[in-house]
């Protein structure tokens, strides 16, 4: 166990810091939450800047245009960008964090040439079309049908909860290609261009009043067979590759951002009036802030363990499920604490980043955190995974 960074890692970090120090002040203000055109420009523009500076695809192999950095450098990259307040990966999430890595491992050279450079340059937004109205936790029971017709699949059915579906150019789409086979063996992973005839996207309004995800309807959509990733009916295995990335390192910036928020909360506590003094003077509140910090520090340490495992084995370890399960609960407690501190002011929902007076995004955060124990596999499903795959307890069925 050695938490020290090597000389190369430190050189990498210093260079990155210097670049961020130059580029961040030139960015201007982030766009409004509901201005999707501006948000696309912002997220893609940032990706392009990363590309031009040689930081795009930080952990992608260099033969695919990435920087070929180690998992530790990837971690440093995420730490520094978050620490210095660089834009979040945003709508590039799917392309950068799981579709791209999946294509690197599973796609044909033609597919790789077609998509990977465009993903790196910030020219393609991707979304994930896995969940369906009747196939959520039980994803393998999905029923969006694909019938082979010459060199096309004809796809009919519905996806739901598709984040960024309304702005995406491509979709990682799971379809059923064999109705008769056992449910895990009749699934195929397709690259679906979102502008094909027969696709209809309807945004869904979230509890936070935003439209981050969509329903996507497919009516006899013709997808070329050459868009298939992996073999026909081997899509479940490919989807598991996708998941290992989604649950592996995808939460690092999220955690670091949360630590920043906790520091802001500690600041806020010192100014919020409470019982004739400030919230900071309330022992209960101060202790809860300390405990939250202890738990985030521990999760950060756990992340470093997961990353170190990835460095040795090439794949993220099972620590990802533990992280996600634990993190969701701690973050909910932090949002609740913000409300306890703000008292009546917690009625006001402010947009954008922290408004000193109302604790704005802390209020919005209390809604957002509800999704943490649902998206990318619910907490109940994570507990099943830990119980069965790690602890070896008997399966339900």
């Amino acid at each position: 166990m050695d938490i020290r960074f090597s000389a190369e890692e430190i050189a990498f970090r210093d260079e990155l810091r210097a670049w961020l120090g130059e580029v961040l002040p030139t960015l201007g203000d982030p766009p409004d939450r509901d201005d999707w055109t501006a948000r696309r420009e912002w997220d893609m523009g940032w990706q392009r800047k990363l590309y031009d500076a040689g930081y795009a695809g930080i952990n992608w192999p260099s033969e695919f245009g990435g920087r070929g950095s180690t998992p530790t450098e990837h971690l440093i990259f995420l730490e520094e960008t978050t620490r210095m307040g660089a834009p979040y990966v945003g709508m590039n999430f799917v392309a950068q964090l799981h579709a791209g890595p999946t294509l690197i491992l599973e796609a044909t050279p033609e597919q790789q040439v077609r998509h990977l450079p465009a993903m790196l340059k910030g020219e393609e937004v991707w979304c994930q079309g896995f969940s369906e109205p009747n196939a959520g936790s039980d994803l393998a029971s999905l029923s969006t049908r694909a019938i082979r017709d010459g060199d096309h699949y004809v796809v009919t059915g519905q996806k739901i909860w598709t984040s960024f579906g309304h702005v995406a150019d491509y979709c990682e789409l799971l379809v059923r290609t064999d109705q008769e086979a056992p449910k895990h063996r009749g699934i195929t992973w397709l690259i679906c261009p979102m502008d094909l005839p027969g696709i209809e996207v309807r945004p869904i309004t979230t509890v936070a009043g935003s439209s981050e995800f969509c329903e996507v309807f497919f009516d006899e959509v013709r997808i070329p067979v050459e868009n298939r990733v992996g073999d026909e009916n081997d899509g479940w295995r490919v989807a598991m590759v996708t998941f290992s990335f989604e649950r592996g390192t995808a939460f690092i910036s999220e955690l670091l951002g949360t630590m920043n928020q906790l520091a802001e909360m500690a600041e806020l506590a010192r100014s919020v009036p409470r019982n004739g003094s400030t919230a900071w003077d309330d022992d209960e509140i101060r202790r809860e802030i300390g405990r939250l910090q202890a738990e985030y520090d521990a999760l950060w340490a756990l992340t470093k363990r997961v990353v170190s495992q990835a460095q040795r084995t090439g794949m993220p370890g099972p620590g990802g499920s533990v992280f996600k399960l634990y993190y969701a609960e701690v973050k909910k407690r932090m949002a609740d604490l913000a409300h306890r501190m703000l008292e009546r002011r917690s009625l006001v929902l402010a947009e954008g980043s922290g408004d000193e007076q109302t604790g704005g995004d802390m209020v919005a955060s209390r809604l957002y955190v509800l999704s943490l124990s649902i998206a990318a596999g619910t907490s109940e499903i994570q507990r099943n995974i830990i119980g069965e795959r790690i602890l070896g307890l008997p399966k339900e069925r």
Partner: protein, 347 residues
């Protein structure tokens, strides 16, 4: 950075666990309650293995490892429920020659001394330094301990003793760290016991571990343990980096915590001090709570059996309770960390 155990560290854990299973099987451990918690023969074997001289430099006859390794060893001792004044004896190794040594903070009024019947000496920490009190000087009135494996006695007033060290810097943090390591091991032992029972006990025609209410409880036990373990290992690394002995300091040997670089070998500056305190207090809270919750959950998973003296579940829980109130309450540790949140360079 490579925050996974090295091959040597894995071998160290395995070696200690094998020793525990061979010499401190659960019947032996339970039997130690009858002799004040320590059997000199077995204790001597721990000493011969190097358990108490882990962090003593090789040139002084020790094993010459770091705090990270001491944490790993203590984790295994906790997992095996090995009783005795383990923390005090390890910390004492550099200042006294006694073989069974307790450690306590000086407070006004009466003190509760652990393992009073078997001590050679008691080290007392106060604002002026560390003091050795010969066990013969203690007049002890035995009390009934919550934990059968942690006998305690009341001492009306601790003697002043003879000074063995002027500084106390690091002592409390080290004691807290080692206790936390024992507790991570307790959390692990309790989780292992619960999972084993969930696999074998049948109700409604199936193993109870197939019921989600039980399976998910076990998953939560594992998660707590893993998160506490990560924080413990991190604290061990920070201790090695900031107060040694540990990895040799070489020029250009950098440390990186929360966005700031420090150089090893420098005197412990404000920043390092904060890092150390934050890491150790964090490990303290997470380990104590993981051990407490896992102990309780282990009782629950065992049903009626869990409420019996016969089943070992209560031993993990009681040991966890005995280890928590030392060198600061959990609330105090939480407050210490809170003081450092705003100062986090990440913010």
């Amino acid at each position: 950075m490579d925050f996974e155990l090295s091959d040597d560290q894995v071998a160290l854990c395995d070696g200690i666990w094998d020793l525990c299973q061979g010499r401190f099987d659960i019947d032996t451990v339970r039997g130690l309650a009858e002799c004040g918690g320590v059997d000199r023969q077995l204790w001597g074997e721990l000493a011969d293995t190097g358990v108490f001289s882990l962090v003593v430099p090789e040139e002084d006859g020790g094993v010459g490892l770091g705090w990270a390794e001491a944490g790993l060893v203590f984790e295994q001792l906790g997992r095996a429920l090995v009783p005795g004044p383990l923390v005090g004896t390890l910390l004492a190794a550099e200042v006294v020659d006694d073989s069974v040594v307790g450690l306590i903070e000086r407070t006004d009024g009466p003190a509760l001394v652990e393992y009073p019947d078997v001590l050679d000496a008691l080290l007392v920490l106060d604002g002026d330094g560390v003091w050795r009190v010969d066990a013969a000087e203690l007049s002890v009135e035995m009390a009934q301990s919550v934990d059968p494996l942690t006998p305690v006695g009341r001492v009306a007033k601790l003697p002043q003793g003879e000074q063995v060290s002027e500084g106390t810097y690091g002592w409390a943090n080290r004691a807290v760290f080692l206790s936390s390591a024992l507790q991570v091991g307790l959390a692990m032992g309790a989780r292992e016991l619960a999972v084993a029972y969930a696999q074998e006990r049948q109700q409604f025609g199936k193993p109870i571990g197939q019921f989600q209410a039980v399976k998910h409880k076990c998953a939560d036990m594992y998660s707590r343990e893993e998160v506490a373990r990560a924080s413990l290992y991190y604290a061990g690394c920070v201790m090695d980096a900031t107060m040694g002995p540990g990895l040799p300091a070489e020029p250009g040997d950098y440390l990186y915590f929360h966005g700031c670089t420090i150089e090893r070998g420098d005197a412990l500056g404000d920043h390092e001090h904060r890092e150390l305190v934050r890491a150790v207090s964090g490990a303290r809270i997470l380990a104590a709570e993981a051990a407490d919750h896992n102990g309780k959950d282990c009782v629950q998973v065992h049903g009626g059996m869990g409420f019996t003296w016969e089943i070992n579940a209560h031993l993990y829980l009681k040991r966890a309770w005995a280890l928590t109130p030392c060198f600061g309450s959990l609330d105090r540790h939480a407050e210490r960390i809170a003081e450092m949140v705003g100062a986090n360079p990440l913010g």
